[in-house]
Amino acid sequence: MLWFKKDMANKDKETKGVLNRLKERLSKTREGFASRVDRVVFGKKKIDDDLLEDIEEILITSDLGVQVTYRLIENVKEKVKRKELNDPNLLKECIQREILDILKAEEKPLEISNSCPFVIMVVGVNGVGKTTTIAKMANRFKEEGKSVLLAAADTFRAAAIEQLEIWSERAGCKVIKHQNGADPSAVVFDSIKAAQARDIDVLIIDTAGRLHTKVNLMEELKKIQRIIGRELSGAPHEVLLVLDATTGQNAISQAKLFKEATNITGIALTKLDGTAKGGIIVSISGELKIPLRYVGIGEGMDDLKVFNAKEFVDALF
């Protein structure tokens, strides 16, 4: 158990720092769930329909989705009926705890095993922040003393390769690239060979952004994944789906279809430094059970944090 405690202590330290930072950012620009609830609860003697409607608004405007919101509200009503809950002041804690339970189940940080190279394939729709997330991950792994190689498999969008190259320079690692318009599978093939030859610890593959409804492009993604598996058995070790916290209910469709195509093993939620609350992740966790790995909270190299359910609920809701 000792190793476990030590691990927890480390995590605690990290959590505190991030929590403060997140809170600091958030307090300036927006009201979190907690303070909003406090405000609607203030002065209320009992839990009535008006109060519940206010709570409903807060949950829905956090992009939690209608289904999850209705379920949470129903649970509260049930508890009130059974006289287990009647103090409005306990309402916040009650709802927070339920959301936390859902998210806690998927709080599973990415662990880099010793398979050399550990291959991470990064996927997602256009503009969610895949390349930026990759750069931040590369930076994180470098700081942990690992060697990192990037593969520029987005050969479609203009200047995507250049974008990854500039980031790689900042993170201090190399990029395997082909010409614009080249076959992404070929880039992936070369990158695995290079990673093996150079004895690289972590290989991160940047794929082109694609809408989850484009069947042909999803097939291309499957092909890329097949090539990786063929060249290195057991790889990719992680298929990371990047989701934009600004996205509404469509994020569920994204997660579903990407999961169907590539069996994603983790999620990174980006752009939490805006006013969007990313509540859709609660629906996704509850429904699809995909491990939550990282959150993106800014444009700086170190603005990628390991997902922590408690911190997420506290700071954002």
Binding site: V125, R157, A158, A159, L211, H212, T247, G248, K271
Partner: protein, 443 residues
């Protein structure tokens, strides 16, 4: 989704058979269902609240028309109100004034600004405008490269910023260079930024004051959730935007953000982006967006697209042949070529109501490679074979497969599909077009 909304409403209305008017009481359940649909489409909570109130007032006391079921009538009211709210004046780009006229593109990171600038540039080029592109995004790595590449593809000039030029200097110099070189329209691609980033929002204000753009367009992602009101509201407050371009409309998002943005800014949505290719930019139609938010699909766009690309004379010919049951494999090929001209197949299928929702439809989504195959197979047939498929015996099929580089199975599949189509046509001709049309109508 539309089916389910109609079904839900029908179920609600079943209880009120015999009522001649929509009353407060019986409309409550109906409004609850509509509220649910709007929230699921990501329309902002507050906007939904106001909208439902407006519908309540409109629907109350209305006579139930005999030609509609009550459900259809409410949907009609909802659809009309939604269309009205989404619409507005000035949906054209305002390019009047002394050239060079400039347009500024602003928005969050990843909303698709640079791609949209490329699309608008292409749109203007088709209108014979001499366009100049200005990359004012010095923050995102390779953003300038990206715009320059798009310019190269479109053969449109792009301003080339010197090292260390800040966005304001870039815009000033670019504008000067545009007037020297006689460009009419200047498109300014600004960096993506958070609406709450004071410093960068001020930068936009300074650019606005310097270049005095004729239009400031907010580029927003159609998949945006509840936060759309905050983002659009802030950009509008700081800059006073003139219009909106909604991107990534080719996905399966219902696009409730459109209504949220319109409600909070009251600025027209001018274009929608419908794909990654530079020609995937369409004029915004409020009625179509309303149908989409309600989950009714985009039948009108499909019809219009078909009208624009189908050759009328050829269509008439084919129709005649269909009526005479003389639809040959050669006509089949003709049809495929026409469909291909309409654009990518998933785009077309996406416009049909309910298609995105049906499970297993993905298997049906024809691969475009498949069409190439079909064409090749038909091309490998003799004239006689094309006119009469019944003569296609084993050895002919083998020859065709060899000639087209496909397998006999492929040839068999094609013939099977063709025969199926032929049978459908025969059925159609006996039961008449009338019955067919009713089946196609959504309600």
């Amino acid at each position: 989704m539309f089916e389910s909304l109609t079904e839900k409403l029908n179920a609600v209305f079943k209880k009120l058979r015999g009522h001649g008017k929509l009353t407060e009481e019986n409309i409550r359940d109906v409004l609850r269902e509509i509220r649910l649909v709007l929230l699921e489409a990501d329309v902002n909570f507050r906007v939904v609240k106001d909208f439902i109130e407006a519908i309540r007032v409109k629907a109350l006391g209305q006579e139930v028309l005999t030609s509609f079921t009550p459900a259809q009538q409410v949907i009609k009211i909802v659809n009309e109100e939604l269309t009205y709210l989404l619409g507005g004046e000035n949906s054209q780009l305002n390019l009047s004034g002394k050239p060079p006229v400039s347009i500024m593109f602003v928005g969050l990171q990843g909303s698709g600004k640079t791609t949209t600038v490329g699309k608008v540039a292409r749109f203007l080029k088709e209108k014979k405008r001499d366009t100049y592109l200005v990359p004012a995004d010095v923050y995102r790595p390779a953003a300038i490269d990206q715009l320059q590449k798009l310019g190269q593809d479109l053969e449109i000039d792009v301003y080339n910023p010197g090292p260390g030029e800040d966005p304001l200097t870039i815009c000033t110099n670019a504008l000067r260079s545009a007037s020297i070189n006689g460009h009419d329209v200047v498109l300014i691609d600004t960096a993506g930024r958070l609406h709450i980033d004071e410093e960068l929002m001020q930068e936009l204000q300074r650019i606005k004051e310097r270049v005095l753009p004729k239009e400031i367009l907010l580029v927003a992602d159609a998949m945006t959730g509840q936060d759309a009101v905050n983002v659009a509201g802030k950009f509008n407050e700081v800059l006073g935007i003139d219009g909106v371009i909604l991107t990534k409309m080719d996905g399966d998002a219902r696009g409730g953000a459109a209504l949220s943005i319109k409600a909070v800014t009251n600025k027209p949505i001018k274009f929608v982006g419908t794909g990654e290719r530079l020609d995937a930019l369409e004029v915004f139609y409020p009625d179509r967006m309303a149908s989409r938010i309600l989950g009714m699909g985009d039948v009108l766009s499909l019809i219009e697209k078909a009208q624009a690309t189908f050759d009328d004379k050829k269509a008439m010919e084919i129709e005649k042949k269909i009526r005479k049951n003389a639809f040959t494999l050669g006509d089949f090929k003709e049809q495929i070529q026409q469909i291909k001209r309409m654009g990518s197949l998933d785009q077309i299928l996406g416009m049909i109501p309910g298609v995105n929702k049906i499970k297993g439809i993905k298997g049906l989504q024809p691969d475009e490679g498949e069409l190439v195959k079909i064409e090749a197979i038909i091309n490998s047939m003799t004239k006689k074979e094309r006119l009469n498929h019944t003569i296609l015996n084993g050895s002919r099929r083998k020859r065709i497969a060899k000639g087209s580089g496909t397998s006999v199975q492929d040839v068999n599949k094609l013939i099977k599909n063709y025969v199926q189509a032929l049978n459908m046509i025969k059925k159609l001709n006996t039961s008449g077009m009338k019955g067919f049309k009713r089946e196609m109508l959504p309600f």
